[in-house]
């Protein structure tokens, strides 16, 4: 008797349909070899919002009894394969369903596999992925994160690429032929998709990760209070009033110590403090109060609190003063303002390079005109599914195409 337990870590709304297709695909593929399975979402993640990290699971087993045994746990505590369909989640996951930051590989069994879609190198990813006290395998599918929406789906073959990769990782449960057969029968299946799955089976890149490798940061965690320690009446204390930044100047608000939000982010604002006109608009518009007022009157986006929604970029009246840049470029949440204060020339150089990269400034999610996904898809498929399609008609379009 044996079972295969998979989790799919995905971005709420943007990848909701993708994750459901993957877990359904796993079960239906395993069914082709007579196995039993279940696909389910973590219910605490269910009231999704854009970008909030969330999880779906698939369990397949030889017998119904063993399936039941694994289903008795509402949420698997260990998984054979962690599927992560957006590499910015490699920095850790803080969902709505728990407190604290979970390393992306937390549930991955020793010698299990973390399977990601990414264009980054192994080494670049391992700067973000937390260290684990057991060795595991990191497998990469060369693809950019497939983001769509609740009502739209981007048919870029990501779901079948994952299934093709899983046939390589867990052949005793999912044979490539079973995967191909299942894909063909799926309401969204096609011969082209079967070909994509087979191609990924061949192209998947895998390497061992040793216990010495990875991000050494200890993810933040919280002790949950006992029922008699909690305030009564479903009340929580208000966030206290903030303090001046320094020397009585500026203002830094207090923030929720239990929920930091930043793992929701797929892009972050990069700020040019030299061109800031101190108009306050970003500070006013930010729905998460993530801007700290600096002593000089400029605004620094606090990277622990920023969800990456991009409203600040949209309201900023100064061209290139606030630019959203893909999260994969950054390795920490350090203050940009401090960096600027320390060495303004170096900052300008860094800023110019960072916001000048047409690939990393392409919006990671949202479509701006009818047919955009089709256009992107064509480019993706023509180039083997690896090219980032930049170009966001709409705000800043002319610059960024």
């Amino acid at each position: 008797m044996s079972a295969l337990i998979c989790e799919v870590v995905y971005r709420g709304i943007f990848q909701k349909n993708l994750a459901a297709r993957i877990t359904r695909g796993i079960v239906l593929s395993a069914r082709k070899s007579g196995r039993w399975g279940i696909a389910f979402g973590r219910y605490g993640d269910s009231p999704q919002r854009n970008g909030i990290p969330a999880k779906d699971f698939a369990i397949v087993a030889d017998t119904k009894e063993e399936l039941e045994q694994n289903m008795a746990r509402y949420e698997p505590k260990h998984v054979d394969v962690t599927v992560c369909v957006d590499d910015t989640l490699s920095k850790g996951v803080e969902s709505w369903a728990w407190y604290g930051l979970q390393p992306i590989n937390r549930l991955t069994e020793p010698n299990g596999t973390l399977l990601m879609t990414s264009l980054q190198s192994f080494d670049a990813l391992l700067k973000d992925i937390h260290k684990k006290d057991a060795p595991y395998k990191l497998s990469l599918i060369r693809a950019k994160a497939s983001f769509s929406g609740l009502w739209v789906y981007k048919e870029d073959h990501t779901e079948v690429r994952i299934l093709g990769a899983l046939a390589k990782i867990a052949p005793s449960f999912l044979t490539l032929d079973a995967v191909a057969e299942a894909i063909k029968e799926m309401e969204w299946g096609s011969e082209l998709k079967v070909a994509s799955a087979r191609k990924t089976y061949e192209r998947i890149e895998t390497r061992e990760v040793k216990i010495t490798e990875g991000n050494a940061e200890v993810p933040y965690a919280f002790e949950m209070p006992k029922w008699w320690e909690m305030r009564e009446g479903v009340t929580i204390p208000a966030i206290p009033i903030g303090k001046p930044k320094e020397g009585g100047q500026g203002y830094v608000p207090e923030r929720n110590p239990y929920f930091k939000k930043f793992s929701t982010r797929t892009m972050r604002p990069v700020i040019d403090f030299d061109t800031c006109v101190k108009c306050n608009l970003c500070w006013i518009a930010c729905p998460d109060s993530c801007f700290d007022v600096m002593p000089d009157g400029t605004f620094d986006a606090n990277m622990d609190a920023c969800c990456g929604c991009g409203v600040c970029e949209a309201v900023c009246p100064v061209e290139d003063c606030i630019t959203m840049v893909n999260e994969s470029v950054f390795n920490d949440n350090a203050s940009q303002w401090e960096m600027w204060r320390t060495d303004k020339t170096a900052y300008k150089t860094w800023l110019t390079a960072t916001i000048g990269d047409k690939k990393t400034t392409a919006r990671s999610h949202g479509f701006r005109f009818r047919g955009q996904y089709d256009e992107e898809l064509k480019k993706d498929l023509d180039t083997g599914g690896v090219e980032i399609a930049a170009g966001i008609p709409g705000e800043n379009a002319a610059r960024k195409v």
Partner: protein
């Protein structure tokens, strides 16, 4: 409505001929109510009219808000209580149902709202008469529930209700149930105590750390995931458990200060000490039962009554003790619980559950009668008592539920 006559000596009670609803309004003047919301539905509307008159007469200074429906009515007092106001509201039948969403959220928010439910049959058919199903709907949710029998008890229980609900150890809403028509609309001689006694009995409402105020910035009722919910339920459970001691404390203090009131807060025992057959009911059904019991006693039948005052918290230990003495028990429900065990009413099954671990479990017979406000006839009571005696002789219950006074 009684007219307030010349002021009497402050230490004396004043005697008024008032209905149960008017007695509640008298108590609301005495507790110096802050906010009351109203939306008319019979029979609760009698109390809302009585309070309006008190305010119009200058006897009470309070915010009187006529809401556009029961949902808002209960929401408004919930919020007023959160900012520290002593509040009152109430409803009947389907009006109480329309407020359901607000009734559900009140206990977890620990809002010590006091409400009057003028018990009324739920629609359909549209009807005005008493049934207890309206108030009973909230029985599992953290509402304290009690049933009253007389105008005097209406006044006294309202005073006690604020003392209990607003106790920091509890902070739970409390609904006082009064049988529509039989109590809400019947006037009886009632003693109204002077305010100074009430002031000694009832401290001011202090919301403490839960007060919603700019000086105490808190968020009330945030969304929570499964990491928090069971702990919040457990807190409510503990508050309801603590209510037992607080209620006993309040009744003892009430007797000390006002010189009246029962020793046993939980239920009234009428000729029950030596009874072979004990009948159980809630509310004004006690009247025909007491009359019948006196008749039966005259014929040598040792029958007694337990009139349940408190339904939540349910006095299961004391009841089991009191009922163990009898040879048979007859529970008379003025409610129904279709499809429940033995197809009984709510009270019968609560008592069955309370007796399950008791050493002595006399046969229990279940009766449903008086629905929709139908009068409970003495003949029906005699019939019930005969069946109880038969069960006592047989040493076991017939495991049925008998509908009394229904045409068949």
């Amino acid at each position: 409505m009684a007219i307030a006559t010349a002021t009497q000596a402050a230490s004396e009670d004043k005697e008024l001929l008032i209905s149960g609803s008017e007695a509640v309004a008298e108590a609301l003047v005495l507790v110096d109510l802050d906010v009351v919301t109203a939306y008319p539905i019979r029979p609760y509307d009698t109390v809302m009219q009585a309070i309006a008159k008190k305010i119009a007469n200058g006897q009470l200074v309070a915010e009187y808000i006529v809401a556009e429906g029961e949902h808002s009515q209960f929401e408004i007092v919930k919020h007023a209580s959160t900012v520290g106001a002593r509040v009152f509201c109430g409803s009947s039948g389907v009006g109480w149902m329309y407020a359901m969403e607000c009734l559900v959220v009140t206990p977890p928010l620990r809002v010590p709202m006091v409400a009057l439910v003028g018990n009324r049959a739920l629609d359909d058919p549209g009807a005005f008469g008493v049934e207890h199903n309206d108030a009973l709907v909230v029985r599992d949710l953290g509402w304290m529930l009690c049933w009253i029998d007389t105008s005097q008890e209406a006044l006294d229980t309202t005073l006690i209700a604020y003392r209990v609900a607003e106790d920091r150890r509890i902070f739970l809403p409390l609904a006082i149930s009064a049988d529509g028509a039989f109590l809400t609309h019947s006037q009886a001689i009632t003693l109204v105590p002077p305010k100074e006694k009430v002031d000694r009995f009832l401290p001011r409402y202090d919301r403490g750390d839960l007060l919603l105020h700019p000086d105490n910035p808190i968020t009330v009722a945030p969304q929570a995931n499964e990491d928090w919910v069971i702990e919040i339920r457990r807190q409510n459970d503990e508050a309801m458990k603590r209510a037992v001691g607080v209620i006993e404390e309040a009744y003892a203090d009430f007797r000390r200060i006002f010189g009246r009131g029962p020793e046993n807060p939980w239920f009234e025992e009428y000729m029950a000490e030596d009874a072979d057959v004990i009948l159980i009911g809630m509310g004004t059904i006690s009247l025909p039962l007491k009359v019948a019991i006196r008749e039966l006693r005259a014929k040598g039948k040792k029958v007694g009554l337990i009139r349940l005052r408190w339904f939540r918290p349910f006095p299961f230990e004391r009841l089991a003790q009191a009922l163990g003495r009898a040879k048979a028990i007859g529970v008379i429900d003025r409610d129904y619980s279709f499809g429940s065990p033995f197809h009984s009413g709510v009270v019968a099954n609560e008592i069955r559950a309370a007796m399950y671990n008791a050493d002595k479990r006399p046969p229990l017979l279940s009766f449903i009668c008086g629905l929709g406000g139908r009068e409970v006839m003495l003949e029906d009571v005699y019939k019930a008592v005969d069946m109880c005696y038969a069960a006592a002789t047989a040493g076991k219950s017939d495991s049925k539920t008998h509908w009394l006074g229904v045409r068949e």
